[in-house]
């Protein structure tokens, strides 16, 4: 007798489009996914436990490794968290420098997203275009702190070094260079007929589901919820800056589909350039570090601080106990929530769509597993 059977496919942890070591267990009927289970934990390094063993300053390099594509943002969030806990006043110049760095890193991170997204739907070329521009941001970081991937540039109470001479001009140059490139991306990929047809109406994430699963960042905004921590609970100088929150418009189909998630990130890069320009104009001269003791002994207190990272809300929950290192440090990674929405939106789609959905959620596994 003939019988049919569900095909169980193990997608990952070694798979070209699971962006690192995500593992998806797909139950498929031919090419159509019936059930999808994301499995995480392949990149767990115990960063939270390490935090209990090293002192507050020493933990900064570990935050680089939470989300290696947006190290500056992770530095930024951790530094702000400890400063709020301590009540440290950060010099204004340092605040501006941090915001510039965070926004530059947001652009760099979204460029990697742009490239790998194109590659996952079969267009190889955008990847190299995205990395070409990212290279320029990395040059800027290297000029500022000597590193190209894990910067360890910010410190509690400011930034480690002042900007080198001429850096602001180079940064302006980059903004002028980068803005027209977005049109090039639109010409090459965004409005390609096949690309729009592949992504429109695929993997629609409704605002209700997004909120229920705790999805944050561009993925939430693509679902039409204008929620941005930079606006809701501004940190550093974000409250003095003007920028818009791009939300999904359903240009190629429904609001909250893969195309919206793509488009929101592209628009966010434009907003980041806008923020950087304002910061460069407004940045005063002065110190870049507050006076902070070598060893921080914070009296028993706790804080939950969150920051808007390229992938969503990065939260630090720190419980201090009067010793040089925290009693407990919990990191809330945006990717963890964003991954779990897959089991909701993947069933009914095809294997090829699964790849597009994974790419459009732009998860990064070190942030998920920590």
């Amino acid at each position: 007798m003939l019988e049919t059977q569900e095909l169980v496919i193990n997608m990952g942890p070694q798979h070209p489009s699971t962006h690192g070591v995500l593992r998806l267990l797909l139950h498929t009927d031919g090419e159509i996914i019936v059930e999808a289970q994301p499995h995480v934990g392949y990149l767990h390094r115990g960063i939270e436990k390490i935090a209990e063993k090293v002192n507050y300053h020493q933990f900064m390099p570990y935050t680089d490794r939470i989300d290696y594509l947006a190290s500056m943002n992770c530095n930024h969030a951790y530094a702000c968290a400890v400063e709020r806990l301590m009540g440290i006043e950060v010099p204004e110049r340092a605040q501006f420098i941090r915001v510039i760095m965070s926004e530059l890193n947001r652009i760099a991170s979204h460029l990697v997203f742009f490239g790998s997204f194109g590659m996952d739907v079969g267009a190889f070329t955008p990847f190299l275009y995205g990395l070409r521009e990212r290279e320029r941001t990395l040059d800027l970081f290297e000029a500022a702190c000597g590193q190209r991937l894990t910067y360890n540039y910010m410190k509690i109470g400011g930034v480690r070094w002042d900007l080198p001479p001429g850096w602001t001009d180079k940064c302006r140059e980059f903004c002028d260079y980068f803005e027209p490139k977005i049109q090039e991306y639109h010409d090459l990929l965004t409005y390609n007929y096949i690309f729009m047809k592949r992504l429109g109406n695929i993997g629609v994430l409704t605002p209700e589901d997004a909120l229920a699963y705790g999805v944050t960042g561009p993925n939430l905004r693509a679902s039409g919820v204008a929620y941005d921590i930079r606006k809701e609970e501004p940190y550093d100088v974000y409250d003095r800056l003007e920028f818009d929150i791009p939300v999904g418009t359903g240009e190629a189909g429904a609001v909250g589909d893969c195309f919206d998630r793509y488009m929101v990130r592209i628009k966010e890069m434009q907003q980041s350039v806008r923020i950087i320009r304002q910061c460069l104009d407004m940045m005063p001269e002065g110190d870049v570090q507050a006076r902070v003791p070598r060893v921080l002994k914070i009296p028993p207190k706790e804080i939950y601080f969150r920051a808007e990272n390229p992938r969503g809300e990065l939260g630090f929950y720190i419980v201090a106990n009067g010793k040089p290192s925290p009693e407990r440090l919990k990191i809330r990674g945006a990717s963890f929530s964003n991954i779990h929405v897959m089991e909701k939106i993947l069933p009914g789609l095809m294997v090829a769509d699964a790849v597009a959905v994974i790419a459009s959620l732009d998860v990064i596994l070190p942030e998920c597993d920590r």
């Binding site: 079969g122 592949r198 790849v355």
Partner: protein, 363 residues
């Protein structure tokens, strides 16, 4: 071939030896040409990709990296030919040969220059369509024999895709056949010569044949599994599809098959629509026989390779379709259009007694 037969006859040997030797020599020449083309094509593909992606491409082996393909070939020969323990060994082994043979056999029936086809046959076009279909079972066997789920998915996609696209492909090719009134490729090309230059090419024969060319080329892209139709191997979805378990020279066979297919589709397009070895002014100007043949061969190869270049250009620019969109495109779009064009071309032939636009205007 006749002269070889006579030579053997004069030596006191059976003339059949002559036929055998001639056929063997011909096969060696065609194989050498096919392999050379496939090697150089991989180099060109990588250079084209480099140009499109604002990088350099291979530039280490030989001047401007021109010997890269030789190094790659040597590497692929020396690698371990790995067969997975759970694979169906016989099927796994023979699958690449299907693909390679299917893409190599059509080379024998290409019209290279005036009145010369390596293996003359009066149904050359039908023969080419038939033998290229051998690629499909090869890919399906590879997908099945690998005992790998990704490979299996790739194999299934490929079976569906190639069968669907052969239909609009063949229907579009019927239009030049209709105009020329023959399946003989040499005669089809000769029918595109004469006064009027490139306006005598079948692509400019009537509006229907003009559109048929694009239908044929699109369906042809799908038949060689090239982006945007590279679903069977879909690197980012199915890892590498049917070829995921293959290594070394067996893997290379699949690639040679793909590049061979590209050449065949382009050659068919240039022979059936773009006048094959025809180019205005060659006929009246060049009187020396052998020079003419060489020029015509050059013209034919130039047209073909330009089309191959277009395929590469498309590959590095477009994203990939999804599998259901692929089927929809074939059955709901390309096939109805192709059938409509075929009917239109048939009507045109009846109404205007087979005359093209040029003939109608000039008289």
């Amino acid at each position: 071939m006749d002269q070889l037969t006579k030579l053997f006859y004069s030596l006191g040997l059976s003339p059949y030896y002559g036929i055998f030797v001639a056929a063997f020599l011909l096969a060696v020449i065609i194989l050498a040409f096919a392999l050379l083309y496939e090697g150089v094509a991989t180099y060109v593909e990588r250079k084209v990709a480099g140009d499109i992606q604002s990088r350099i491409g291979p530039n280490r082996v030989g001047p401007y990296g021109t010997l890269q393909w030789l190094a790659d070939g040597v590497k692929l020969f020396l690698k371990e030919d790995f067969i997975p323990a759970q694979a169906d060994k016989l099927i796994f082994r023979i699958a690449p040969y299907f693909v390679f043979v299917g893409s190599f056999l059509p080379f024998a029936a290409l019209p290279l220059w005036d009145r010369f086809v390596p293996v003359p046959m009066n149904i050359g076009l039908l023969y080419i369509i038939a033998v290229t279909a051998m690629v499909t079972p090869g890919i399906v066997l590879a997908g099945w024999g690998s005992n790998n789920k990704w490979a299996l998915l790739g194999g299934m996609r490929s079976a569906a895709q190639l069968i669907s696209y052969e239909v609009p492909n063949a229907v579009a090719l019927l239009i030049p056949v209709l105009i020329a009134g023959t399946l003989n490729l040499d005669e089809i090309v000769r029918a595109q010569g004469g006064g009027g230059g490139i306006l005598r090419w079948f692509i400019f024969h009537d509006p229907f044949s003009f559109m048929a060319f694009f239908i044929f080329f699109t369906a042809g892209l799908a038949e060689c599994n090239r982006t945007p139709f590279d679903l069977p191997e879909a690197e980012s979805e199915l890892v590498a599809g049917y070829s995921v378990e293959y290594s070394a020279i067996r893997y290379a066979f699949f690639y040679m098959g793909e590049y061979g297919d590209m050449f065949i589709i382009s050659a068919m397009a240039s022979a059936a629509f773009l006048g094959g070895w025809q180019l205005p002014l060659i006929d009246p100007l060049v009187k020396i026989g052998w020079l003419k043949a060489v020029l015509q061969l050059g013209i034919f190869l130039t047209k073909t390779l330009l089309l191959v270049l277009v395929m590469m250009w498309i590959r590095w620019t477009f994203p990939r379709l999804r599998v259901d969109q692929l089927m929809e495109l074939s059955w709901k779009r390309l096939l109805p259009i192709a059938l409509f064009l075929l009917m239109g071309a048939a009507l045109w032939t009846v109404v205007f007694h087979g005359k093209g636009i040029y003939d109608l205007i000039v008289g």
